[in-house]
């Protein structure tokens, strides 16, 4: 108990992912030692991002407009939709420069134990986009873990017969040695082997 304002700041900081009480205290003291303009710049940036940035009405990605730049880009292939869990995953796929289609951001993955069910994600919106027509392929790029796989399976089941559904291949990290691969990853890679 130093002052109610510091306690409040620490409390707010601990709500951030990956920030425990000790880190929150460190951050709070760091902010206290900065100049007022510097600290205010952070507060302003948070306020601005909340005021200006919203979710794209089409794909759920982050944007400062109604519809994001990718959805508006006439050069993108509108017949392919890549489904990801979070906006940060859009950034990762874009970095590959291998993908020219559109995206759909779910906002998470299905996890019955945590009470996250289909209605809590933007799954209905995805089905609507497929329903609206013109989509020839849905690429499921959810994380290769239990909740990501469960989400991919759920969507694939629902879209079966309505459009082509593909899943990102699972395999070995490039640059790694086979002997260090775990059994599950190696097993997956074997299942997904391709003709050469």
């Amino acid at each position: 108990m130093i002052s109610p304002s510091v306690d409040n700041l620490v409390a707010q900081l601990t709500r951030l992912p990956g920030v425990g009480t000790r880190t929150a205290h460190r951050l709070a003291f760091h902010l206290l030692q900065r100049s007022t303009p510097e600290a205010n710049a952070l507060a302003d940036a948070i306020r601005e991002v909340k005021e200006r940035v919203r979710f794209c009405q089409v794909c759920g990605n982050l944007t400062e407009q109604e519809v994001c730049g990718i959805c508006q880009d006439p050069r993108r292939d509108r017949s392919v939709i890549c489904v990801v869990e979070q906006p940060v995953d859009v950034v990762s796929v874009e970095r590959t420069a291998e993908y020219r289609g559109l995206y759909h951001v779910l906002g998470g993955s299905l996890s019955p134990l945590d009470g996250i069910e289909p209605g809590d994600l933007r799954i209905g919106e995805l089905f609507q986009r497929v329903q609206d027509g013109g989509v020839t392929e849905v690429v499921l790029a959810t994380n290769p873990n239990m909740t990501g796989e469960a989400t991919a399976n759920y969507i694939a089941d629902k879209l079966r017969g309505r459009t082509r559904v593909t899943r990102l291949a699972s395999g070995l990290p490039v640059g790694g040695d086979l002997e260090y691969a775990d059994e599950v990853t190696l097993g997956r890679a074997l299942l997904g082997r391709r003709e050469m």
Binding site: P17, G18, P112, L113, D114, G115, E117, P144, N145, M146, E149, A150, N153, Y154, D157, P173, G176, Y180, A181, D182, E183, V184, T185, G187, R188
Partner: protein, 256 residues
């Protein structure tokens, strides 16, 4: 080496993201009961843990005792990945019911070998249980019925070893041999008509089904002849026992 390091066999019940690249895994372990551990860096594609600590994985773990409640995972060997159960949405939903039941029924750091063995046996069976199909071999969509006896059998056995199901052979209140037409979670067993106030109705199918499931090994759950009515009663008994003894409902059981 370090005295604070130890090994144990365990099943991953649940996995939660922590910070940038870590996960907290909730485990059922053979020697230490339920424990929690941090797997550092596991979400990085270069992690040495790889896919070995996904929920339902049966592993041999090397842990370092932490200062707080959480241990740290320092090594993992896979005993059974149960990838087959994770890859099939029905198998997975059934597997998660088993995992959640263990998670909620058993206290931390209290070994229960029978519960652990029931869980690992259940997961092995779940991998291999044939999925119901139509005549031409296409999987029946949305049909969990084929897995019902197995998952009910597991849950009854877990309630039994947790000490919440003491009595099904005679009235749990007065010892009368029967007829037993109700189940009382408060009394902890089947009850006769005189002691059935506030109890769940229990059909002969339900009572016989529960007795048979408790007597038979998990591997034979599908062969005890559980009827639809029996399965429904059984499910109601399990749900009521969770609510009364643990004050919880399974989240995973409400799906599908």
């Amino acid at each position: 080496m370090a005295a604070r390091s130890f090994r144990t066999e365990a099943v991953v019940l649940r996995s939660l993201r922590l910070g940038e690249a870590d996960r907290i895994v909730h485990l059922a372990s053979l020697e230490h009961g339920r424990i929690g551990a941090v797997a550092r860096g596991i979400r990085k594609t270069t992690s040495k843990f790889g896919g070995r600590l996904e929920p339902l994985s049966h592993v041999e773990l090397e842990l370092t005792r932490g200062r707080g409640e959480l241990h740290t995972v320092t090594g993992v060997q896979l005993l059974a990945s149960h990838q087959r159960s994770r890859d099939d949405s029905y198998r997975l939903s059934v597997g998660l019911v088993g995992a959640e039941a263990v998670l909620k029924l058993f206290p931390e750091e209290e070994a229960n070998q029978r519960a652990f063995q029931a869980l690992t046996r259940f997961l092995d069976l779940l991998d291999d249980l044939p999925r119901p199909t139509t005549a031409d071999g296409t999987p029946l969509p949305g049909d969990r019925a084929a897995f019902e006896p197995l998952v009910l059998s597991l849950q009854l056995k877990l309630l039994w070893v947790a000490g919440y199901l003491p009595h099904l052979e005679s009235c749990a209140e007065c010892g009368a041999a029967g007829p037993l037409g109700g189940f009382s979670a408060r009394i902890g067993g089947a009850v006769c008509a005189q002691h059935a106030a506030g109890a769940l109705p229990l059909s002969p199918d339900g009572l016989q089904g529960m007795q048979a499931l408790l007597r038979a090994p998990l591997a034979d759950a599908n062969r005890v002849g559980l009827t639809d009515r029996g399965a429904r009663d059984c499910h109601a008994v399990v749900t009521a026992s969770y609510e009364f003894n643990g004050g919880f409902r399974l989240r995973s059981a409400t799906q599908g």
